[in-house]
């Protein structure tokens, strides 16, 4: 499935100051959130994140999601209330090969003596723009009944 990715989101995800969170379901169905610095769009317009810890819950849960066809989501947020929720399906885990090695080298150049467990790839199914300004404008326009009366008082 090809989902349009706005330039605004592309710029945000490449912004080093953006906050990026991966949410995956645990074995018992609890959504668990973890900050992930290395999250990007790849050339196939899928989301790629670099999992640094072999034994992490996020890696186990991402693997589980791939194995059992569960979805995952990413929260990408930045300044001025910019916020996007990206929902997708894990499609690939790379633990070897040229792309994996390229990411391994790049990661270590950036962060020093760290390791790379895997390159985890998610196919995007839906992008929800949860940016506050946009959502508030929508609400004001489409749901005027949600306003407090004092806001309308003379």
């Amino acid at each position: 499935m090809i989902v349009d990715v706005s330039q605004e989101l592309r710029d945000l995800i490449n912004n080093a100051q953006a906050v990026k969170v991966l949410v995956v379901l645990s074995e018992t169905g609890i959504p668990l959130a973890e900050l992930k610095e290395s999250v990007f769009f790849n050339e196939d317009a899928n989301i790629e994140y670099l999992e640094l810890l072999e034994g992490s819950q996020s890696y186990k849960n991402f693997t589980r999601s791939l194995w059992y066809d569960k979805k995952v989501s990413f929260l990408i947020s930045g300044e001025n209330g910019l916020s996007f929720q990206i929902i997708g399906k894990p499609i690939k885990i790379l633990v070897s090969g040229p792309l994996y090695e390229k990411k391994y080298i790049g990661l270590r150049e950036e962060l020093g003596d760290v390791d790379l467990a895997a390159v985890c790839i998610t196919e995007i199914e839906e992008i929800i723009d949860n940016s506050f300004n946009k959502k508030f404008e929508e609400q004001e326009k489409l749901k005027p009944i949600f306003k407090h009366l004092d806001r309308l008082a003379k």
């Binding site: 072999e54 791939l66 059992y68 499609i91 690939k92």
Partner: protein, 417 residues
Amino acid sequence: MRLGEESENNRELNFIEVIEKYPEMPKFIILKIDIQRRGIHYSKEALSVFNKDLYQVRGAALFGSRDSKLTPLPESLVLRDGTTVLTDPAPIESKPYIVDYINGKLVITDQGKILEEVDYWYKPDFYNKNTLKGTPMQHIVTARPQRLQVMPSSYCHFWNNDKGCKYCDIVNNFKHQKSELGVQTKLDPIEVAEVIKEALKQPGRFSSICLTAGSDTRGEEPFDEEVNYYIEILNAIGENFKTKKFPSQLIGTAFNERQLRRLYDETGLTSYTSDIEVLNEELFNWICPGKAEWVGYKQWKDRLIKAVDIFGRGNVNTGIVAGVELAKPYGFTNEEVALKAVLDEAEDLAIHGVATVYVVWIPRPESAFHDQRNASLEYYVRLAIGLDNIRRKYNLGIDFDDYRRCGNHPDGDLSRI
């Protein structure tokens, strides 16, 4: 009786049916097991995209292939979840899976239906090089997607008096490889170290080193020569590392406590495997007469247990050739009974800190069991689930022999989660 034959359909379950019956088992691993059971055949189209400059070609190995040829085909496959599938070509008459290239993707198919995407193994950089002595480096050390494999000796001394394991073709394969590939009988530790040094120049390529070879019964005490040689090679390899210990596995004979202590204290080795092959004493005596003669089943188990005190819990395991317990005429005749027996013995070892992992038995053409048949897919799936459950029950990790550091144990793949 094979699993499934007791049901209304009176036949074992096929791939799709096993997936439906065991939803808790990832379909990637069920597919891996069945590919290993049945073998593969590469279509013309699949081979048209097999670039030998990029991908690994079948090379030196301890055991032969099911088509008993050393043809320069792809080494093996990897699935899109990172699962490694060690498999080899099978004659088309035996109805193997087909690796094909359809709509720009390399896929695995069965009866014309696409089941999954696959990829070939990428060739490591050192495969293009020779040692200072002029030996192709890939004849000395072979590669899996994340593992370096050193096979110091391609001969097993249990075959000296024809007591090699009945499922094994190590000696016949060694003869083929020597004549057709020029693979050496015994490796030079200095050359091994040279190759490892070269391999380590490729960042991110390798996570572990595994040493495995046939047994060597010689020495003041049996297997002393084998141990001495491993120590020599491990120390040569160790010169490449900053730390004394490095992620490594030795798959060797069941050494005694003194020998195990030497391996641990005198080298950088971090884990130890000694394959008991079949978890039943009577069958062990029949199928592995050399192992039975020189060590014995009970002593094999005892030595594994002693190894835990030396290498530590989570660093010792044993491998079995799963399905060989059903070999005719003396094996189990009922898969349900066999499964229980194997899992009971595996649990007995786990209580003492020894994990059990399995490889799918492939009746090799040049082995004594060449005309036998491996177990049903359902058997292997239930065995994988059973062994994984036992390890979880006893909190026994197998990081050193898992999907990344080995890749040949379907049950070990389950430990990823």
